[in-house]
Symmetry: C2
Subunit: 204 residues, 2 copies
């Protein structure tokens, strides 16, 4: 057989990325073969190369798309005129909400950095740093205006981000805790961790 009835390039390309994502998240980039991805899409392995020049390009695109989406989504949520405390809470809720619904993307972008060749690595690392900078800036602002009390803004930012990223490793949709409860808890935890204490407001 040859070209399939009704096949459109852009549709197939999207389908490939969509199927590759959970496979790579589950087994890891190195452990997922092009044939596995092709099988999931329902296509021959060779056909993947009509849409991507290589397996590596596919990974870079997956991670790049995710980071762009993440940064763009935060830009939409980010509102001027908030206090650092309001902004940190808003960021925590945004991060958890966004990442829980895109757990595979997040997992890959965090875990597969080492699978990237130098060129792609530099590109993704830059975006990742931009995201970290968001938290760093919020905490630094809160530190300057005296709303937060932290020893070191960088360490505090990495601590908040680390605790947030960890959510993806244990969150289960059918679990004991709802998404909004988790957001509430982490908002409180994060604010406390940066030494925010507006008349016990952080003690829910």
């Amino acid at each position: 057989m040859a070209r399939i009835k009704g096949s459109v390039g852009s549709k197939t390309k999207a389908a490939i990325l969509e199927k590759a994502l959970p496979l790579i998240a589950q087994f890891g980039y190195a452990a997922v073969s092009m044939r596995m991805i092709a099988d999931a899409v329902g296509v021959n392995a060779g056909a993947l190369y009509n849409h991507f020049p290589s397996k590596q390009h596919m990974l870079v695109l997956l991670m790049s798309d995710h980071m762009d989406g993440l940064l763009a989504a935060w830009d939409e949520v980010d509102i001027k005129g908030m206090t650092p405390a309001q902004k940190l809470e808003s960021f925590v809720r945004f991060h958890i909400g966004y990442n829980i619904t895109r757990a595979d993307d997040v997992f890959i972008s965090f875990m597969e950095l080492r699978s990237l060749e130098p060129e792609g690595h530099k590109q993704i690392e830059k975006k990742r740093k931009a995201y970290e900078d968001v938290v760093r800036k919020i905490i630094r602002d809160g530190q300057k205006c005296g709303e937060f009390h932290v020893e070191d803004a960088h360490v505090a930012a990495m601590s908040v981000l680390g605790s947030l990223i960890g959510v993806n490793t244990w969150y289960r949709a059918k679990g004991r805790l709802s998404k909004s409860k988790i957001e509430d808890y982490y908002a409180a935890i994060s604010l406390r961790s940066v030494g925010y204490d507006a008349e016990g407001k952080a003690h829910v």
Copy 2:
């Protein structure tokens, strides 16, 4: 050639594990071949099978040894009669200290869970849970006696652990911050995050 002069089985086995560890940490289990490990040891790939029945067994042993060492080391540090706050601080310092000096082990035990086949996965997961239980118990105790103020002990524990595990992703021995400074900062952050506030003691 055949058997090498002065070769002892136990020495070679240890050398294999030692060389395999950083390779797997850097490139991932699936991306590291038996030949790469053998080359690093200075031995033929086939010789590895005099010491391990399979690549998978090697990974399980690496992770299992690490988790055992981690749990045993904590048992030595763990002192009865501490208050929850003292114990949490002691745990944070222990975790950072131990994990910074064994970054590769920690990284592997966290990242390569998915590379484990069912049997090994169950075994390692059990040990990992035992470690998480340490933090959960400390926070639960602090919650009961009123020293900590958290919404949910489980979430608080996962948050603390997540922030601690994150340290390994950015800590550099030659970096701006010394190990002991990082311990100080994280001790303060963690205590604040669980709502410990003994007369501003947490605000260093």
